[in-house]
């Protein structure tokens, strides 16, 4: 599919490598440290859950890993590219070609139909006829009959399924999911996470997911706990809590 699946490269390079990442935001009076000295590695094909309480910094970490923002200190290497050294446009290109997103609040454009929402990243990537691919994905997530419906006409679960179809549309090598079931009831959430996991397996995508849903986290190959901006192994976290 692309060079990233080259086994040699895959062997030598982790999908994601974070070294001494620290992130601060300036408020009016002082500076707030959101992440402190985070280091981690995620291998190709791995599925990783980042868990933690609200406000622990997990969503910020996810954004930094995905190159939506740049850290104050430290390095993030995504598929071999050092994010801080890239320009904003280069980061955008990286996202367009290799990264997929699923958000807690779905982030579908209300004016567009389900089909058009899924076509959006394909159009951005310059695909010639994105319609067929978008339809195929919507059929895969079970919405083949609802192509022309706008988000308002879809239930929450259906909206998230459109978002998942969109995330996989551009064949990403890594998928970032931010509380993908956070706005859904248990059963719908279960169905959506099944879909996410299945597609992830089918496409061989690396998955990084932020969640506080323990069941969902348990379905991932590895779990990272984050507390007050510091990354800990879950076992260690439990000990601390005790």
């Amino acid at each position: 599919m692309n060079q990233m699946t080259d086994p040699k490269l895959a062997a030598t390079n982790p999908m994601l490598r974070v070294t001494d990442l620290t992130h601060r935001v300036s408020l009016e009076t002082d500076t707030l440290t959101i992440l402190q000295g985070v280091s981690l590695e995620i291998n190709r094909g791995e599925s990783v859950a980042i868990v933690g309480r609200s406000g622990s910094g997990k969503t910020t970490l996810l954004g930094l890993l995905a190159g939506l923002d740049t850290p104050t200190e430290g390095k993030v290497e995504l598929d071999g590219a050092e994010i801080s050294s890239l320009t904003e446009d280069q980061r955008a290109q990286l996202r367009a070609s290799r990264v997929g997103f699923v958000f807690q609040s779905f982030q579908l454009l209300p004016a567009l139909s389900a089909l058009e929402n899924v076509m959006l990243p394909l159009e951005l990537a310059g695909m010639e006829s994105p319609e067929a691919r978008a339809k195929e994905l919507l059929e895969r997530v079970g919405l083949g009959e609802r192509l022309s419906h706008t988000p308002r006409q879809l239930s929450g679960g259906e909206q998230q399924r459109v978002a998942i179809a969109r995330a996989f549309a551009s064949d990403p090598v890594i998928l970032f999911a931010d509380e993908p079931t956070g706005n859904l009831d248990n059963r719908t959430g279960q169905a959506v996470s099944d879909l996410l996991m299945d597609l992830n397996r089918e496409q061989g995508t690396t998955l990084v997911m932020v969640t506080h849903d323990e069941h969902l986290a348990a379905r991932c190959g590895r779990q990272l706990q984050i507390e007050a901006g510091v990354l800990t192994e879950p076992e260690a976290a439990r000990e601390l809590a005790d």
Binding site: R95, F103, L124, S129
Partner: protein, 828 residues
């Protein structure tokens, strides 16, 4: 309820963008209308007072019978609080060292002029200056040409009848330098109290007594009410509006201002309608929530009505706060342009249209979509309900059209204008629907992106609903602005064409029939060829269908032309600028009939075949009316109420010939030689009048430009408001596109292209609709002829494309400047 009330506070409202747009639109509406109304009012006053200086007063009473009017008439005017002044005009011989010369004397009282100023030159090398009063007793001011004719210098004396007067200044220009036939000879000005001393005016002398009046319109009108029954046929009451030369220029300027005002109202209405609809849509969730909490439909209606009233008050106050300083600046600019101080006049009545506009904008344009909020289902809280269908908006549109109709009618007072505008708008919307449908059909095929162009096209399709709505508003705004630009351009062109640089500025009158060829040769040699030379016979219209004319014509009509001698002529060809409106022009060889000027014919109620009897000296001539024709009184060429065919009724009547021609300032010396060679021919110099008219046209032009600029600014704001109506959606989309990997530069380019395309198409349609509206307007309102205006129109689509591209870029600014993560969080 306390919480609900808090939810409804204006302060909270202000934090909502859609409300800000409604309020800003309202402020613009009120400010624009108030500024235009105030300024138009001021301009009106300034123009009238500027025009008044043509009479040197607001009104003149002329006694052509050579007798002063009873003193009590003037006393009455003074008692009523009017300013008065007097002048006597007569012709006489003056004697200087170098000989004698027939002059036209204007003897003025201390008060003269009540309006305007006199321009003099106190020495041959001294600079010209303007003064507010005429010469004192014992002084005489003279036309520079007279000085040369009599070989006199300033400081020497001139004999007028029995009196020796000292020449103290050259008379360059008098405000009321009208072209009456009595003022043929070079002009001199003296003090009215010196007139008895000259002994020139005896019982029965040909002198014209003119009385000047100035004051507020209502006092003048009251006075005229009192005076009218006392007037004799030889008395003529003149106001600025009667001045043929220029009332039409004034009228056109006035109409333009009204048209501008109406268009401003339309623009404002569009802005308010768009913003309030947007607001209503954004309020649906809130209303559903309030209903869920138990508020009734009535309660919701009341809440929003109160809210609307609050906006209205805020909008009016805000609008006036903007309008007043703006008005002050415009008045200052006006006074700079006019090179004379303009008295700042704040007419409270001029604020009424602004209040009315605010009220109508709110209740006809803003209220309907907000009113429908009452119908929002509470179920919406739980689940999205189908949105509004277009059908719901039909009553809104009907109300809006009625309101527009009413407002434009009220402001412009012209049904034709209303229909022209509404017709243009209807046509525009029909074409828009068609073009929009076509565009969507074509764009549907465009899929996939990659480059900015394709992304822009995909974007247009993606936003088709919003795009079409915005395009309609842009096209309408552009149409209104383009209409105004077009009307202004053709108005100015017409004026320019009316008084070209080589317009005739001298009349030759009283040419003896056997001298016509010689006179023509004289001027041809001096590169100042004469226009057509017409015979002129003085005669009075005495009978209509064998009845005395004053009895035959309706008593309500006071027709000056019937009270004095008319200039009659014969001609074979219809003058170029005349137009036959009824009957037919004389065929070659015709000797029967008379052609009558259209306005006079209408006031007299003449129809083809009516028999007119003229008394010429001791003879009478009776001819049937065979045609009615329009006359360009302001053409500065000889014009005639009555024209006979060659060999017709006027043949063998004693007459002289008249013509006009253009003479350059530098060539004026030739007039001296001409006067010596043709002493009996009278030269009427009207170059100063023409210059004055051109100056006034320039003033009006400047004012029109100022108002146009104001309205274009309003149009820009409307467009900005409409673009920002979709700001949130656009920003959200931009943020998401960036997250999904859209590059900043690509996003910026494609958005600019998308808006540019929108602006270009809207521009083309707006321009076409404007041409259609102008076609209707031009023919009806401004009595002009229609021309296409490619050079004016061509740039508009490009300008609109560029403007919208900039708007689009500006809208995207926050999306491009921060990290996608921050954007998504902000928009969540």
């Amino acid at each position: 309820m306390a919480a609900a009330k808090k939810l409804m506070s204006v302060r909270r409202d202000w934090r909502e963008r859609d409300v800000r747009v409604v309020l800003v639109a309202l402020v613009i509406a009120v400010a624009t209308v108030a500024t235009i109304a105030l300024f138009a009012n001021q301009l009106q006053r300034t123009l009238v007072s500027s025009a008044s200086s043509f009479l040197a007063a607001d009104r003149q009473l002329e006694a052509e019978n050579g007798r002063p009017v009873p003193a009590e008439w003037i006393d009455e005017a003074r008692e009523r609080g009017l300013e008065t002044g007097q002048l006597i005009e007569f012709s006489t011989m003056v004697f200087g060292e170098g000989g004698f010369q027939l002059v036209s004397v204007k003897a003025v009282s201390d008060e003269y002029p009540l309006r305007g100023e006199i321009e003099i030159q106190p020495g041959s090398d001294a600079p010209r200056q303007t003064v507010g009063a005429g010469p004192g007793r014992g002084e005489i001011w003279v036309n520079p040409r007279l000085l040369r004719l009599l070989e006199l210098e300033i400081g020497e004396t001139l004999e007028v009848g029995n009196l020796e007067l000292e020449i103290t200044s050259l008379l360059i220009r008098e405000p009321d330098g009208g072209f009456r036939l009595s003022s043929l000879a070079p002009r001199v000005m003296i003090h009215v109290d010196d007139v008895p001393g000259t002994g020139v005016i005896q019982e029965g002398s040909r002198a014209e007594y003119v009385y000047l009046f100035a004051g507020p319109d209502n006092l003048l009108d009251d006075y005229y009410q009192w005076l009218e029954p006392r007037l004799e046929p030889s008395h003529e009451w003149e106001s600025v509006r009667d001045g043929e030369t220029f009332s039409r220029s004034l009228e056109r300027a006035e109409r333009f201002l009204l048209l501008g005002g109406s268009l401003a109202v339309l623009l404002a209405a569009v802005a308010v309608a768009v913003a309030s609809r947007q607001y209503a849509l954004s309020q649906r969730d809130t209303v559903a929530l309030l209903k869920t909490l138990g508020l009734s439909s009535r309660g919701i209606g009341g809440l929003y009505l109160r809210r609307l009233a609050l906006w209205g008050i805020a909008g009016v106050i805000g609008g006036l706060l903007v309008a007043l300083p703006l008005f002050w600046i415009l008045v200052r600019l006006l006074s700079d342009v006019l090179e004379q101080p303009v008295d700042f006049h704040l007419a409270p009545s001029a604020l009424l249209p602004a209040l009315l506009t605010a009220l109508v904008s709110l209740f006809a344009f803003a209220y309907p979509p907000i009113r429908r909020l009452r119908n929002v289902a509470a179920m919406r809280v739980l689940r999205a309900q189908p949105g509004e269908s277009g059908r719901d908006a039909i009553p809104d549109i009907a109300i809006a059209i009625l309101a527009v109709f009413g407002l434009v009618w009220l402001y412009a007072g012209e049904v034709a204008l209303v229909f022209a505008l509404l017709g243009g708008l209807a046509l525009l919307l029909a074409v828009l629907a068609l073009v929009g449908g076509l565009m969507v059909a074509v764009l549907r095929r465009v899929r996939g992106g990659g480059n900015a162009w394709r992304l822009a096209l995909v974007g247009l399709y993606r936003h088709r609903q919003a795009s079409m709505a915005q395009m309609a508003v842009f096209a309408m705004t552009l149409m209104l602005a383009a209409t105004l630009i077009l009307v202004r351009t053709s108005l100015l062109d017409d004026w320019q064409a009316q008084l070209p640089d080589n317009a005739p500025n001298h009349f030759l009158i009283n040419i003896a029939p056997d001298a016509v060829d010689e006179v023509e040769a004289f001027w041809a040699e001096r590169d100042a060829p004469l226009d057509t030379v017409y015979p002129m016979v003085r005669g009075r219209l005495t009978e209509l269908n064998d009845q005395p004319v004053l009895e035959a014509v309706s008593k309500d009509e006071r027709i000056g032309a019937l009270n004095r001698e008319l200039n009659l002529t014969w001609m074979a060809e219809l003058p170029e600028d005349n137009e036959i409106v009824a009957g037919e022009w004389f065929a070659p060889g015709d000797t029967i009939g008379v052609s009558v000027e259209a306005e006079l014919a209408e006031r007299m109620g003449l129809v083809m075949g009516d028999r007119l009897t003229f008394t010429i000296g001791s003879e009478t001539v009776t001819e049937p009316v065979t045609s009615i024709r329009t006359v360009q009184w302001d053409s500065m060429k000889p014009n005639f109420y009555m024209a006979f065919p060659p060999g017709g009724g006027l043949t063998d009547m004693p007459g002289t010939w008249i013509t006009s021609f253009h003479l350059d300032e530098g060539n004026k010396v030739a007039l001296n030689e001409f006067s010596r060679r043709f002493p009996t021919v009278s030269v009427l110099e009207i170059d100063h009048i023409i210059e004055r008219i051109q100056q006034i046209v320039r003033q009006v032009t400047q004012a029109i430009e100022a108002i146009l600029a104001l309205i274009l600014a309003a149009a820009l704001v409307v467009m900005a408001a409409v673009v920002s109506a979709t700001l949130r959606d656009r920003q959200r989309e931009g943020a998401l596109l960036r997250t999904l990997g859209g590059q900043q530069s690509l996003l910026a380019r494609s958005t600019m292209l998308e808006f540019a395309l929108l602006g270009f198409v809207a521009g083309i349609m707006g321009v076409l609709a404007a041409e259609a509206a102008v076609y209707a307007l031009q023919v009806r309102m401004f009595e002009g002829t229609f021309r296409w205006h490619w050079q004016v129109m061509l740039p508009i689509p490009f300008i609109s494309a560029a403007l919208l591209a900039l708007f689009g870029r500006w809208q995207l600014r926050p999306v491009l400047s921060v990290s996608p993560m921050l954007l998504l969080r902000r928009l969540e």
